[in-house]
Symmetry: C2
Subunit: 252 residues, 2 copies
């Protein structure tokens, strides 16, 4: 067990900014659940762990484990109820392997880290392996996004694109040819659309910006008997993801 040196302390602080993450290719993953998930999913990415003494024996998988006092910890970590542990890890990089999922969920300019992270977690729970997103979305390796996702980003393939057109082009190259734009008010009903999950791309926008355009795309909507304004983006994504799970179980 070693004491956390000053340069590592400064590094951690810098990882709470987009600039710091971009410069180093690293990110900070906070809390017991998230660190456990990270260490299970991608131990090779972990550079070092910082924790309070009592927790450290659990984290022998980490290559280096530093110990700090409670006071120091709370100065360092963003979590309000800091659970006394954080890992510094490299953001995963992967060669452009072909996606194999039945469909690709896409987030178009979803800027809220809570929503983005919750959707990652739900994508992972639904058994999918990829999520694509456009510029204008939050950084998936933002500390808040990692917490909301309970570190699901380390076991998913996330691909960022400058805009929907570029994304659509790449999707077509991989054989994903049906494009669906989710819309709170208009379009075909997701529950009755037969080809919704057949080599398709399902694009979810933010509440602030809605969803962009893709040539030839179909609009798809969630029926809403309560005629309320709209669902939260993460709730809409959940309905799409678990309708897939339902159909998949039925046919499988």
């Amino acid at each position: 067990m070693r004491h956390l040196p000053q340069p590592q302390k400064a590094l951690i602080k810098s990882l709470y900014t987009r600039h710091g993450r971009k410069k180093t290719g690293l990110c900070v993953c906070e809390g017991l659940r998230c660190c456990r998930e990270l260490l299970q999913a991608a131990p090779e990415l972990v550079r070092f762990t910082v924790c309070r003494e009592a927790l450290c024996p659990d984290f022998e998988l980490s290559p280096v484990c530093y110990e700090i006092s409670d006071r120091e910890f709370s100065q360092l970590a963003a979590t309000i109820h800091a659970q006394g542990i954080l890992c510094v890890a490299a953001s995963p990089a992967f060669a452009g392997a072909s996606p194999t999922d039945d469909f690709l969920p896409v987030l178009d300019r979803v800027g809220d880290p809570g929503n983005f992270g919750t959707i990652l977690r739900t994508v992972r729970a639904a058994g999918l392996t990829e999520l694509w997103y456009t510029e204008g979305s939050v950084d998936p390796f933002n500390d808040k996004t990692i917490r909301a996702a309970t570190a699901a980003q380390f076991s998913l393939r996330l691909r960022g694109f400058p805009d929907l057109d570029t994304l659509a082009e790449t999707a077509r190259e991989y054989g994903y040819r049906a494009f669906y734009l989710t819309d709170p008010h208009a379009g075909v009903n997701l529950f009755t659309e037969p080809e919704l999950y057949t080599k398709s791309v399902i694009i979810i926008g933010s509440e602030a910006h809605g969803v962009g355009e893709v040539t030839g795309a179909k609009r798809v909507t969630i029926p809403m008997p309560g005629r309320f304004e709209s669902l939260n983006a993460a709730q809409a994504a959940t309905v799409f993801l678990f309708e897939y799970v339902r159909r998949h179980a039925e046919s499988g």
Copy 2:
């Protein structure tokens, strides 16, 4: 247009505490969307509105409209990006009418205002009219819960109970006899359980505490192909609520 007097200012500040809400029976509803929803759903509950000059003409439905400066507004309101409007309203009270929904969604000790609010919003969107909850849950009229729900609390009937036993007793009196405890790992599959929404009670717990016990209740689970730890409570609730919407549309 009048200037906001000191006692009203102090009142608003007190409504950010549970004690202040309890003492007055009032709550504070912030932001353009939430205030619009409140004024549409329950204008009779609104006591007064506070806004920046530009916004006030929109809010003629409010009995009294005070105007304040931007600086004063940001000192008063909790929202980080305050949209320059808030309403002070009475928490709705209602006589014990019989519930008429096909099933009753219940939140058992869900303490997170974001999750609780998001679930209220989704309950409303699904066309239901009631949500019941147990003590240990967050105050549904907390400002954060109202924002997360986009003020859906003003068009739902919310009933609080000291514990699940008391809640179950009341539900039985109203003819709701089947009890389901949602469980991340075990139980019947929600997608194939035929009687899931037939005069039933579906109980959702928090991630921290799980769900309590009810004699004779059945466990029900969401299949999770990704074998991830669990879904966020609000995502699990959404799957239950929109599986109901799907079946209802199919049969209706």
